[in-house]
Symmetry: C2
Subunit: 103 residues, 2 copies
């Protein structure tokens, strides 16, 4: 992707009650993919979960945050699935690929 | 951490030859912690590896990139350990904590 664009870094510590979590994670990823301005997502989890979503603009991030289905997921995340999380809104200023992507 | 600060998002696909990788990863994390402007690191790996390091300034990122020991690790990463990676330099504009951190 060609900078500048935006990244939302979401780092999480899960709680012990993960009932319904996996289904919701898949649902939210699918829904995010349909949103205007969505550019992609990276995810990995060990003890810490890291999900990074990439967006064209701050407006597209704000729209996704306000999406009704996503709001429901956010509420369940706070009440049930996450013991702790940090969310960072970032402007991606430079990007390097290896092997070099010259297209 | 209080924005603005910087994040380096390093997403990797490993090769099959990981000889020496784990030792180097530990060594580089320890070394990064001693660098001026270093704020912290998050890491998780499943298929994809994600390492995010946080820094006070673009200057501190440039200094870390140019560190001689780190340069050796970067060369080995390209020649041996990584099949593919993407490195993104980001300005963290906003940060939210749950539970809310009011300190």
């Amino acid at each position: 992707m060609k900078p500048p664009y935006y990244a939302v870094i979401f780092t999480t510590r899960q709680s012990t009650d993960l009932e319904g979590y996996d289904e919701m994670a898949v649902k939210m990823e699918r829904l995010a993919e349909t949103q205007k301005g969505y550019l992609g997502m990276d995810h990995a989890r060990e003890d810490l979960g890291i999900t990074i979503s990439y967006w064209e603009s701050l407006e597209s991030i704000a729209n996704w945050k306000a999406h009704l289905e996503h709001q429901k997921a956010q509420a369940l995340g706070k009440s049930k699935w996450y013991e702790q999380y940090t969310l960072r809104i970032c402007k991606v200023e430079r990007e390097y690929q290896f092997p070099a992507n010259n297209t």
